[in-house]
């Protein structure tokens, strides 16, 4: 069913996925688990307890040496200088016109070193963009593509912190949200990052590719029944409920971060590639914006579905059934000027189905008192 084309790549965990009974699908050139049991069950387990995701298909690009920070500042929409060593920042790589090359997380790993974690589908394009930008700015920084040598797991859910604590010395400090630490889990060297893509607390954990299997086994054992492996199916429903953008859906080279609602990750006051265009767009005001929709019925408005509004048509970029919110939800671009609460329609297979424009995220976890950001 994958059709002709290049053979699919496999992560170091492939045989474990097969042994666990995963259903495998092609994704961004990789053969990845879409689910192990049921997307709904895996989704609910992450919200209630914890889930373990193999996201080793994602890319890692390191920039280091003299000029590394200046190059990162030119590439990245957020402010690298505001991220001391040990901090993570989310942001975009933009074209001169403000279109998005990729959305990435930046790890400030050293005074003159940053690590970008990038989308699997964009590794080659990002690497080219880094080199192009390096040449244009006459930078001397070193760029290393460490994607193949690096494995990445996401451990997400309210039980995630407790599971990791079992693999660390008693009293080891817990990284704060949007912080990371180079440490060990049992005897495996890792970069332990308090970040995620599900709307839950938890970690993203980098390790050398040859050690990622051992790390997977350690976490599965430490987690016991509190932890289940989770595929890309639930990763998508979880991130959609949390209204996190997915490159190729909400973001691409024809959309800018401002209309995608990501202005807080764009340091407009400083120079970076695309800044001038984005300042001009911000001053002119957006013509469209990314919004959340909740359908009245249980039909799903898939990507590409037309959104009918009294200000013209929009288009759905992501749509699914939200297992936790128990509603059919969608993200999509609509003409600017529509207010929260507006009643719109989505054209699903020729039928205009009623939906409402809502504030996002669709789902927000409850944080215990006294444990703010």
């Amino acid at each position: 069913m994958s059709g002709a084309g290049a053979p699919l790549a496999r992560t170091p965990l492939f045989s474990r996925h097969v042994a666990a009974g995963a259903k495998l699908v092609p994704f961004a050139g990789w053969e990845m688990p879409v689910s192990y049991t049921s997307i709904l069950d895996e989704h609910r387990h992450v919200r209630a307890s914890a889930g373990l995701f193999d996201v080793s298909h994602m890319g890692e690009l390191r920039v280091r040496g003299p000029g590394a920070l200046e190059l990162a500042q030119e590439l990245f929409t957020n402010d690298v200088s505001a991220a001391p060593v040990g901090r993570v920042r989310y942001g975009m790589l933009c074209l001169p016109d403000g279109g998005v090359v990729d959305d990435v997380t930046l790890y400030r790993t050293g005074p003159e070193e940053v690590l970008f974690c990038v989308n699997a589908s964009n590794v080659a394009a990002d690497r080219d963009w880094f080199h192009e930008t390096r040449a244009r700015t006459k930078s001397r920084a070193e760029i290393a593509d460490e994607s193949e040598a690096t494995g990445l797991l996401a451990l997400q859910g309210p039980a995630a912190l407790g599971i990791v604590a079992k693999l660390r010395p008693a009293g080891a400090p817990v990284p704060k949200l949007w912080h990371f630490e180079a440490t060990r889990l049992a005897d495996v060297p890792v970069l332990l990052s308090r970040t995620g893509y599900t709307g839950e607390d938890g970690y993203e954990i980098f390790a050398e590719a040859p050690r990622i299997g051992a790390l997977w086994d350690l976490l599965r054992e430490a987690g016991g029944t509190a932890l289940v492996p989770v595929g890309l199916g639930a990763r998508d429903t979880l991130r959609t409920e949390a209204a996190y953008a997915l490159y190729g859906h909400e973001l691409d080279r024809a959309h800018d971060p401002l209309e995608a609602g990501l202005a807080r990750f764009v340091a407009l006051e400083r120079p970076f590639c695309g800044a001038a265009a984005l300042r001009a767009r911000a001053a002119a005001g957006p013509t469209r914006r990314l919004v959340g929709l909740v359908l009245e019925g249980r039909q799903v408005a898939r990507p590409g579905t037309r959104i009918a509004t009294d200000r013209g048509d929009g288009i759905v970029t992501s749509g699914t059934f939200g297992p936790t919110v128990d509603r059919s939800i969608a993200l999509g671009y609509v003409p600017a000027g529509l207010a929260t609460g507006a009643h719109l329609h989505v054209d699903v297979r020729g039928k205009l189905l009623p939906c409402q424009l809502v504030e996002t995220p669709f789902y927000r976890r409850k944080r215990p008192l006294g444990k703010g950001r």
């Binding site: 995963a22 049921s38 429903t237 249980r298």
Partner: protein
Amino acid sequence: MKDHEYDIPDDCQYTDSDEWVRVDGAIVRVGITDYAQSELNDIVFVELPERGRQLEKGEAFGVVESVKAVSDLLAPLAGEITEVHGGLSEHPEWLNEDPYGRGWIIALTPEDLEALDGLMSAAEYRAHVKARAGK
């Protein structure tokens, strides 16, 4: 690929679009197969037809929507829809849990019961599923 074992009961006949048909006196019951529900994963919505509608063989009579995909339901035989399983509106998960039992979708009065001969037997359908899974 892991070799999934699918439930393919011998008392049904099958279409190449993964519907099953079970003769029940003068009517036939229609649903989707275990293979189909497994491929779709969790089903969250079923669009059901009106009772009394006349269907041509192969005509789309409804839609099954899962978390990850949407699929048309195709009439395995020509005939009139005499029953619609309304409970699926509230419980689309029955299609996953019990595709050949509680997950039945419609009952048809076929124009011609002999048209059943054109459908696949359980053995033929098993080979059909295996051929696709091996791709």
